[in-house]
Symmetry: D2
Subunit: 363 residues, 4 copies
Amino acid sequence: MKTRVFLVGAGFIADIHAESYRRFVPEAEIVGVYSRREEHARGFADKHGIPRWSTDLDETLSREDYDVVDICLPNHLHATATIRAASSGKHVILEKPLCLTLEEADEMIAVCKAHNRKLMYAEELCFAPKYERVRQLAHEGALGSIYYLRQCEKHSGPHSDWFYDLDQSGGGALMDMGCHGFAWFRWMLGREQKPISVFAHMRTGLIHGNRTRCEEHSISVVEFDGGTVGIVENSWAKLGGMEDRVEVCGTGGVMYADLFMGNSALTYSEKGYGYAMEKAGATHGWTFTTVEEAFNQGYPQELLHFINCVRTDTSPVTTGEDGRAVLEMLYAAYCSAGRGAKVTLPFRQKVTKPIDLWLGSPE
Amino acid sequence: MKTRVFLVGAGFIADIHAESYRRFVPEAEIVGVYSRREEHARGFADKHGIPRWSTDLDETLSREDYDVVDICLPNHLHATATIRAASSGKHVILEKPLCLTLEEADEMIAVCKAHNRKLMYAEELCFAPKYERVRQLAHEGALGSIYYLRQCEKHSGPHSDWFYDLDQSGGGALMDMGCHGFAWFRWMLGREQKPISVFAHMRTGLIHGNRTRCEEHSISVVEFDGGTVGIVENSWAKLGGMEDRVEVCGTGGVMYADLFMGNSALTYSEKGYGYAMEKAGATHGWTFTTVEEAFNQGYPQELLHFINCVRTDTSPVTTGEDGRAVLEMLYAAYCSAGRGAKVTLPFRQKVTKPIDLWLGSPE
Amino acid sequence: MKTRVFLVGAGFIADIHAESYRRFVPEAEIVGVYSRREEHARGFADKHGIPRWSTDLDETLSREDYDVVDICLPNHLHATATIRAASSGKHVILEKPLCLTLEEADEMIAVCKAHNRKLMYAEELCFAPKYERVRQLAHEGALGSIYYLRQCEKHSGPHSDWFYDLDQSGGGALMDMGCHGFAWFRWMLGREQKPISVFAHMRTGLIHGNRTRCEEHSISVVEFDGGTVGIVENSWAKLGGMEDRVEVCGTGGVMYADLFMGNSALTYSEKGYGYAMEKAGATHGWTFTTVEEAFNQGYPQELLHFINCVRTDTSPVTTGEDGRAVLEMLYAAYCSAGRGAKVTLPFRQKVTKPIDLWLGSPE
Amino acid sequence: MKTRVFLVGAGFIADIHAESYRRFVPEAEIVGVYSRREEHARGFADKHGIPRWSTDLDETLSREDYDVVDICLPNHLHATATIRAASSGKHVILEKPLCLTLEEADEMIAVCKAHNRKLMYAEELCFAPKYERVRQLAHEGALGSIYYLRQCEKHSGPHSDWFYDLDQSGGGALMDMGCHGFAWFRWMLGREQKPISVFAHMRTGLIHGNRTRCEEHSISVVEFDGGTVGIVENSWAKLGGMEDRVEVCGTGGVMYADLFMGNSALTYSEKGYGYAMEKAGATHGWTFTTVEEAFNQGYPQELLHFINCVRTDTSPVTTGEDGRAVLEMLYAAYCSAGRGAKVTLPFRQKVTKPIDLWLGSPE
């Protein structure tokens, strides 16, 4: 019997999840989709051949006729949706970042534990095939002792409006994409190394004008107690399509990996064509034509892993605790940018959303 | 109910097929594996969790308790195995090249037709995701009218001994890999353009010494009646790992795609590591670390397509007729190399194996 | 005392020569420039600070107050200009190709010899630093025994009108650029290996419509008596800027080198910029921004070598004999495309211009 | 008449200078070379055809029969050598970094000014052709408003022993190479933007064991008052050869440029060859074969500019003041690493050498 998944959300990332389930996770079936707006819900269900759609979130999360909720909602809804779903017996797959506050994180983890439900934190970089090759070689010892990591994720800004509203997103480019870098560092280094400080620089007002008060660009330098240093760079102001790349230096070697340009065909087209790459803009002239973006970023592998965890009752490699640890690092980064100083971990402060630590509280 | 596949052969390519079925073709189950040698058959079955193994080819092909035979045998056995399997009711998936002679090809096609069995010709380049993006853009008109194609497949020589024996393989680098380029040209250009001539240059004695009389290097220039010209380059004497790349030029643009280097992470390792790339040799110093080789070459997509064709009784995109058309081009190429002259198509000559057209008949 | 050079021609290539002399050949001074049209001659002289200009070719070539003539004229004027200049005592630097016919070539060589003047054939690829590194490694034995060479030079068509007129140019993309590949093969392989055959495929009518009857695209396969095979590919129909690249395969290794993309910075610019690359077209979106094009192609090194040859009375590495040998290969290639068959060398036929061997004589 | 240059130093960088003068700066002649050790001085003079050599530094700097001293000595000797040379009437070309302390810097600038001698600070990245293309496009507006710069220079450690001794070098990877990044940022952004803070992270003990107490790896984040942020990354622990690359992001585009891998031919050699790249180590297997390293890094262009400044009595684009500004940033970076905190500029503290600000004063 297949594992029944209800997809909560019908935006950009939900679309990637739906494609990933359909093509690569035969043990799962999507039994329904929720969107706030009827035309989105209905259109999404039609496109992906999903039998049921809903615009009622409460009802959706309370139903008991499916096994796993897959939450692809705006960040500020992550906590309540997770808690409600777990309380009514569902395992939870939750898109990054985990939620807006550490208090929410603690409660989400506690509720899922209390109901014996899995909280599966969807960090696809831990499943991206090329990055997993990097990790494998590092673990084989091919690179010696790792002392430096760099991860960049940059594009020209998100598709959906809610990202630009800091009350819904909790922050900008760092909140949106820095969570990837922080999670990947922890995944690469394993439990033996803990992050001990973050220094961050942020900037807004680059290309989005009044549309957002969120940071459009951020640089974060993370120190780990084993001595490794990591740099995470994120941007909503980088033109020319998505960039997702890593560098690793160890005492025995180096690796470079690039998920977009580094997996693409190279094209020159006088008149252009339909689609080149996430956020690529125009397609005439030279372009880097991407191939199997979802697969190369690790989405199908991630969802397959999660469904298998549910089916075999095993623990996922990326949990609520991982999401919480990343959120703590995001806090520290915003705080660092606000103070203009390095911030040490562990770090906890009472805020409504992470970006307040940079911009100040909004009262 | 799953489609039951019997894997006939337990070498390099059978291993790729087995991995591809397991990870990406949930509708299929491998019910058995044949190898001439017991330790190979048993080891392969153990490795891939296949319930049954056999060293009796006749018995294997005559059984009626499975649906599809997947033939990964040396080239000279393709025809008889196909004919026997189809005669006893199985659909046939057959690794390239189709067989050694046009007479065999005609009989294979006829027998499969007579028994209403599908003859599915396994040309994975027609499914390789990056090359399919190239084809898609070409069909969108992004490149204007295509006037030039190039496909290279080069490495340092096959794993298995039988390739080097021209009686088993029928030819060397061209027979082994030129079939890919010829098939891909036909796939790119569609039925509208027919190949009208082949000019080929071949050479042996480069790095394999007395191990083989087969050509180690070949260049083939193919003209199509629509005016497009294609170059296929193949080598068993190219060091540094597998190369598989294409170039396309049209009146409106160009594309370049590379399946190995172009999908890899870049590594420098002082001490080396386990595996970099098909035929890569040593892994210390700089290497191009490949990722998901089977997927990037199109094997899982190909096998999924074939299994779906069987399940829905539809025609595969690569058939026995395609394999035959490619074989005719291989004939023409060997003949061209033998004559030192361009050879026009259609071309048919009575030979025991294609390479005789270059080396002369062996009596 | 500086060596006095008179530049005959004021087009695209003359501009590169002038820049090269000024920046990199201090032993030379350009004493004058000739162009058929006064505004060109005058403008060129102004731009490059050349003291004298002329529109009288005869007078220019007959003067005796300079040492070296540097001929950058349309192909059909090469022979007469060379002969006149040498006859009046000048050493000759001559842009490729040498001339239109073998009869001209023989006479040019004889006249220069009779007057004891150097005939220096300007094949810049023999001086391009990256290609010279390739040659150096090959000669060091780093690649083992070389069995395969490929050289591509492709762009979207020449700047000047005369190239499109086969009476002035003698041929199209092959005449214009195939001479580079043929010369580079000979340079790589040295005197030990002689070309023994050429097979060529040509096509016209791709993107230039009625502007030209010349071939817009050509592929040439050359066999050498040592067993090496070379492919030269040329195009006037390749969009996206200049391409100049080589591949070398030997029994001990391989090399890839690219003079344009492979030396460039990678740029994404929303609004575009002034200049990206020879024939690059628009510069918005992604572009490959070239750097020091003349230097990377070997022009300054070539001219410096020639001037030193004059000053020290030594033989240049690329002579009239080399240009003649290349012209013979061009003949063979056109003839091969015309016959649809491989043509063996040595080859000589009486024609007015090489392209007649493909298109047939124009009477 | 040529400008007479005396080369003071005969190590790795002096060799690059000598080659650069000889090939690309015809207006200069090297009249002598100094090295502490006779065999070095004599060997260098022989190799480069220099008429005179000396092992007496005082005598060398006091002579009056040449015009320009080109100082390629260990860092701790820069100040005294400069002062002595300028005092006895020579213009000074001085390799980076300017000197060890701000006090020295002030005195060097003052003395040169007092004697009306030019202090020409040899920052070759301001002349590297590819980086100059980046700067040109940025200034054209092709990239919009620049908000991010990154410059990396990394290798496996210097050739000469003195670099490892912090009393001679004043610091490690940052002192050695971070000066390039800091200088290049200032050059890119121009006088309009001033650096206002530096945050740095450093690490030692990676691959050089007890050989050095200097930092082997450093990351520096620099804020400019116009809002641009820059990252400089340096390493003496990066295997696989030299890395020198930049990234630039602006509101209208991005650029990527790479001086070593990005200008190289790609080679696979089974047996290896003589030389691939600065610090490349072994050359068998895959290597990036560099081409014209000195030219691509800007050395000849830099020296030509300096000699022209002397000959025409104009100001160089990189002066003692620039070297001093960079030194101040180096101070701030070491101080930041020591404090674990961002340090604001202007910054001045009394120390014996920059690295003391990180390691603490050595008493």
